[in-house]
Amino acid sequence: MEGKAKQATPTETAASARSRTKRCQANLSEIFKTSCSSPVVMAHKKLDDYTEDDLGQDQPITSLKILVIGESNVGKSSLMNRFIDDTFDPNMANTIGVDYRSRVVNVDGQTVQLGIWDTAGQERFRTLTPTYYRNAQGAVIVYDVTRRQTFERVEQWLQELDAYVNRTDVVKMIVGNKTDLKNREVSREEGQQLARRHSTLFIEASALENDNVQVCFEDLVYHILQTPGLWEARVQPGRIQLGDNNPSLSEMTWNCISPNCSLL
């Protein structure tokens, strides 16, 4: 682990690389099997990890939601894990219990909390819920350069994305993964052409060899930050996430003692 952390890209602050090493290699398939008694160590929220040095001086944090889609087995979860904590587990059965993973990065002088959302296997029979797509600012569409059929499905994934993402300016990146393998079926040029046709970003990568993985996500973030209106308006007034109890509203309840009570 120690050695791997050094591979952190230059855009990332030293502190965030340090805090990433705190996390051990995760065997995620463990998490639910024995229900509550599973060997899960509950740690406190990641923001504690990051506060002081990480967040720059008084820079606000921008949070972004990034989707990873594409056919089964192309390496979506592997890319995510490689990016988040620089791990690669060839035997990872499934990313059980993991919805999204997050990491703080510094791109273009801006501190960004990236939430990378995994498909949770629901892509297998093309049954992703529309809910999965809501409010995303970026999407990574992955294919496997050694399986042509996964490349041919990319257009359908783009269509599905357009159908459910509720805005037109979501930044998309097509990724040809597994470049470390010899038996290529899709050339780099074909990938580039497809990306050009759909006006998306393009990169070839290998999750196994950690080739182009950091760059892929950082480039995506960079383009999101360059898109006016895409990320600033994250907090839309009037939208409620449950659990935020807003104490200032409590005066509207009946049992409180408000100045108006004197009227009674």
Binding site: R23, C24, A26, N27, L28, S29, E30, I31, F32, K33, T34, S35, C36, P39, V40, V41, M42, A43, K45, K46, S72, N73, A93, N94, I96, G97, V98, D99, R101, S102, A120, G121, Q122, R124, F125, T127, T129, P130, T131, Y132, R134, N135, A163, G238, R239, I240, Q241, L242, G243, N245, N246, L249, E251, M252, N255, C256, S258, N260, L263, L264
Partner: protein, 527 residues
């Protein structure tokens, strides 16, 4: 990777309606192997929401004649087993479906007119901006679903808006009902004396449980009589009875008080009315549970149902036959809309639904409101629950409002709802300037199976689940899911909190590594 998947499960769930989805999530969450199927290509079944195009398809499907033929299935059977064939892909179980436009196909753009003149073309062009619910529901801010979403951490998949006003129909017009303390003091509609009476009454309703003496007195009284005893003015009685307690003249006193209390307890948690509306529609809610199920390893396949059920001689379900394969399962949970005829309850009451697109709000204001209106019963109709949503909820495009009406079925949905609709909006030819103009409407009926006895004719390890009910909130589905879950897994916790991804840090000890292979062998679905 082909359509190869495991042949054995702890629970197979057929149908992605509300109760089914909660159960799938609950089972998966505690480590059960779950397969979740739906023969439709969309999630939610009778609880789905559609964009405008998707809705057209649904309407088309409903209008197809019901196919009574059985599925062609020839499952392999072991000794003593028999197969119950299912109907060919069930048509959606909605009837009396009537969809109608009230604007021309196309209109010349009328220039700088203040009010946009809508055309069919224009609405269709914006089809993706719609989320039209078959079963619209509101959540009480302290109701069962809100608490469950928070305690299970499924809340992270959902987003809501607060209903911004509660409105009633009184003396032939719409009036906002003051429902918070602040509202009561701000309103011009009631006098200072009335304000005081109202506050006292509401206070009493929040405290009634701790007062058994008082309760006794009202045991045989109707809520209306109780309100009259309190010497409330007609105005106030109307507000409390219809808008706050959402009751009728017959509602017993205790029930009326308990409904009032429920309303008041949910006030102020997220806003100045007690209600929340899901962004993108109620159809999001079952999906959120499905997502949790998948995150914990549940397997999903849409456009796939069961063609036959394989039942052993001991009247337990052994497997389902689906897409030429026998899939074994210890339990089967099945939406009633899928159930073979022999399992169906005799008769069930019905729900009448109306959906209307209009070009401004039913009660114009200086900002976009999310409105709840309990339309009081009159000679021609029962009480009708009306929710009006605008573009802020992503239910419809900007410039349009969508009105959902729901009532107990007496005749067809159109017969049951037309008189109320006429009061609130202009139909073609009508030009009342205070009312919105109707652009498009749809009526349909569906069964209310929440009161049926579903266990009567089924194998002992098969659980049928109801479709949408008439209540405002999702309490019924949650209750039903909890009951079924506790029959299947009495030892397990129902939807314990799912950890946030940031909290998942696994020990990498050797000890754990050694344990892992055994667990995998016994519990992991074979890939």
């Amino acid at each position: 990777m082909g359509d190869e998947f495991p042949k054995e499960y702890d629970v197979i769930v057929v149908g992605t309606g509300m109760t089914e989805s909660i159960l799938a999530a609950a089972a998966s969450r505690v480590g059960k192997r779950v397969l979740h199927l739906d023969s439709n290509e969309y999630y939610g079944g009778l609880w789905a929401s559609f964009n405008f195009e998707g809705l057209q398809q649904w309407v088309g499907d409903c209008q197809k004649p019901k196919d009574e033929t059985e599925c062609k299935a020839d499952p392999q059977l072991a000794d003593g087993e028999s197969a119950i064939k299912m109907r060919v892909l069930n048509p959606p179980t909605a009837t009396n479906v009537k969809e109608q436009w009230h604007v021309p196909e196309a209109v010349e753009s009328s220039g700088d007119d203040a009010k946009k003149a809508w055309s069919q073309e224009e609405v269709k062009k914006l089809y993706r901006k719609f989320n039209i619910d078959l079963a619209p529901k509101l959540l009480y801010s302290r109701g069962a679903l809100v608490e469950l979403l928070i305690s299970s951490n499924i809340a992270r998949y959902t987003e809501f808006r607060n209903v911004t006003r509660v409105v009633t129909w009184h003396e032939g017009k719409l009036t906002p009902v003051p429902c918070s303390r602040a509202d009561v003091f701000a309103t011009q509609n009631i006098t200072v004396v009335e304000k005081r009476m109202l506050m006292n009454l509401l206070q009493e309703c929040t405290e009634y449980e701790g007062n058994p003496e008082k309760l006794k007195k009202h045991e045989n009284q109707s809520f209306l009589d109780f309100l009259k005893d309190k010497q409330l003015t007609d105005n106030l009685i109307h507000y409390v009875l219809y808008a706050i307690a959402m009751s009728t003249e017959e509602t017993p006193c205790i029930e009326g008080m308990s409904r009032t209390q429920k309303f008041l307890l949910s006030l102020g948690r997220y806003g100045n009315t007690p209600f929340l509306w899901p962004m993108y529609g109620s159809g999001e809610i079952p999906q959120a549970f499905c997502r949790l199920c998948a995150v914990f390893g549940g397997l999903y396949h849409l456009k796939r149902g069961a063609e036959a059920l394989i039942v052993g001689s001991d009247n337990t379900l052994k497997a389902i036959h689906s897409d030429r394969e026998n899939l074994k399962s210890n339990y089967l949970v099945m939406g009633l809309d899928y159930a073979p005829d022999s399992f169906l309850p005799e008769e069930s009451p019905g729900i009448s639904r109306g959906v209307f697109l209009i070009d401004s709000s039913i009660l114009a204001a200086d900002k976009e409101h999310l409105t709840l209106l309990e339309f009081p019963p009159d000679e021609s109709s029962g009480p009708v629950t009306i929710v009006e949503v605008g573009s802020l909820t992503n239910a419809c495009p900007q410039g349009l409002y969508m009105v959902h009406m729901t009532t107990k079925q007496k005749g067809s949905a159109e017969e049951d709802l037309m008189s109320v609709a006429k009061k609130l909006m202009n139909f073609p030819g009508e030009t009342d300037e205070s009312k919105p103009n109707l652009v498009w409407s749809m009526f349909f009926n569906m069964k209310d199976t929440s009161t049926c006895d579903l266990g009567a004719n089924t194998p002992t390890n098969l659980f049928l689940t109801s479709g949408p009910d008439l209540d405002l909130d999702f309490d019924f589905a949650i209750k039903q899911a909890k009951e079924i879950f506790s029959k299947m897994y009495p030892e397990d916790e129902f939807l314990p909190r799912a950890p946030d991804p940031e909290e998942i840090i696994l020990d990498d000890d050797d000890e754990d590594k050694q344990k892992q292979p055994e667990e995998k062998a016994s519990e992991e679905p074979q890939e």
